[in-house]
């Protein structure tokens, strides 16, 4: 039987062991494992690669640990503007959304563009209108808000520089909203 499987990422940057608390590292590894398990379960049952991709990504989209959907970084104006894309290798069909603010799972919107429209990339309000018509779940902007990312924006504004994903390793003490556990997580500074 043909080998099957999946591979995932949750962002790159200046991620150093000495700047990662044991609690934060455990949380990241657990969530990555959860993502792999979600995607693998679909493949194991004979599901399609596209569905496995969606399942794996949605686990990370729903986690505050990663820069996607819930936990997305902020623009200069203090907004979350999210992008997503998907492509299938059998027919080279593809779909994407850019600059969306209310779609709970941007990757599901990308899949809808791929499968339910003749287009490849929809952006902004139009993309959200399309997602609504497709019955995708929408969310208030507060769903995507995290204190960690908000503080990161304030620091970036002070420096007047943009940032990307997981970069730099200043320790930041964050308070987990779920467990009240105090742990340090790596900051995300990547200068454009």
């Amino acid at each position: 039987q043909l080998k099957y499987g999946l591979v995932i990422h949750g962002g790159a940057g200046t991620i150093l062991r000495e700047n990662m608390s044991a609690e934060a590292e455990k949380a990241y590894r657990q969530k990555l494992d959860e993502s792999l398990a979600a995607g693998y379960a679909i493949l194991e049952q004979g599901g399609e690669a596209t569905d496995a991709v969606i399942a794996a990504i949605q686990v990370m989209e729903q986690s505050e640990l990663f820069n996607a959907a819930k936990g997305a970084v902020f623009t200069h104006e203090g907004r979350n503007e999210m992008d997503a894309s998907i492509m299938r290798g059998d027919d080279l069909n593809a779909g994407a959304v850019a600059g969306v603010r209310h779609i709970k799972s941007p990757i599901s919107a990308a899949k809808a563009v791929m499968e339910q429209s003749p287009h490849v990339l929809l952006s902004g309000a139009g993309a959200e209108e399309f997602a609504t018509e497709q019955g995708l779940e929408m969310a208030d902007t507060s769903y995507f808000f995290t204190e960690r990312r908000w503080k990161s924006l304030q620091r970036a504004i002070e420096r007047e520089k943009p940032e990307l994903d997981h970069d730099d390793q200043k320790k930041a003490v964050e308070k987990s909203p779920k467990s009240s556990l105090i742990y340090s997580v790596p900051e995300d500074y990547k200068f454009g």
């Binding site: 499987g5 496995a52 503007e81 894309s85």
Partner: protein, 136 residues
């Protein structure tokens, strides 16, 4: 930025990427994630790729498609092609980040040129790994 590339039992490949973009971005800046061929690409003849990093460089280098093209036109392996693009070409152009990819035979590659990348894979032959740091 999060992403996934998968190979199913029917030999079909797919790749996806989802991101919040860059902190403090302005002017409706869009990175590579929603741009097919730059941040995401899949082709059953070669591989499926998802990228993370400094988007402008990934766009200019058409990173995801470049890996597939090197496999298709120069017959490079996934490992050779992905490392050439991420470790050599992207670095020469000043771009930082990484990619994850799986090819039509189930080989995986996760090269990056930063200090770390949250990453992992799981295959039907039992191979599996989760890693964060450069030395892992």
């Amino acid at each position: 930025t999060v992403g996934c590339a998968a190979l199913d039992k029917n030999g079909n490949l797919a790749a996806g990427t989802s991101t919040g973009g860059m902190t403090n971005k302005r002017w409706n800046r869009i990175g590579d994630s929603p741009i097919i061929g730059a941040g995401t690409y899949a082709n059953n003849a070669t591989c499926a790729v998802s990228s993370t990093g400094h988007g402008e460089y990934f766009i200019r280098s058409v990173v995801a498609y470049d890996i597939s093209a090197l496999m298709e036109y120069q017959s490079l392996s996934l490992k050779e092609a992905s490392e050439k693009v991420v470790i050599k070409k992207l670095v020469e152009r000043g771009g930082s980040g990484g990619i994850i990819a799986i090819d039509k035979d189930g080989n995986v590659s996760m090269p990056f040129n930063t200090k770390g990348m949250y990453r992992g894979f799981r295959l039907s032959n039992g191979e599996a790994k989760i890693a964060i740091y450069e030395e892992e």
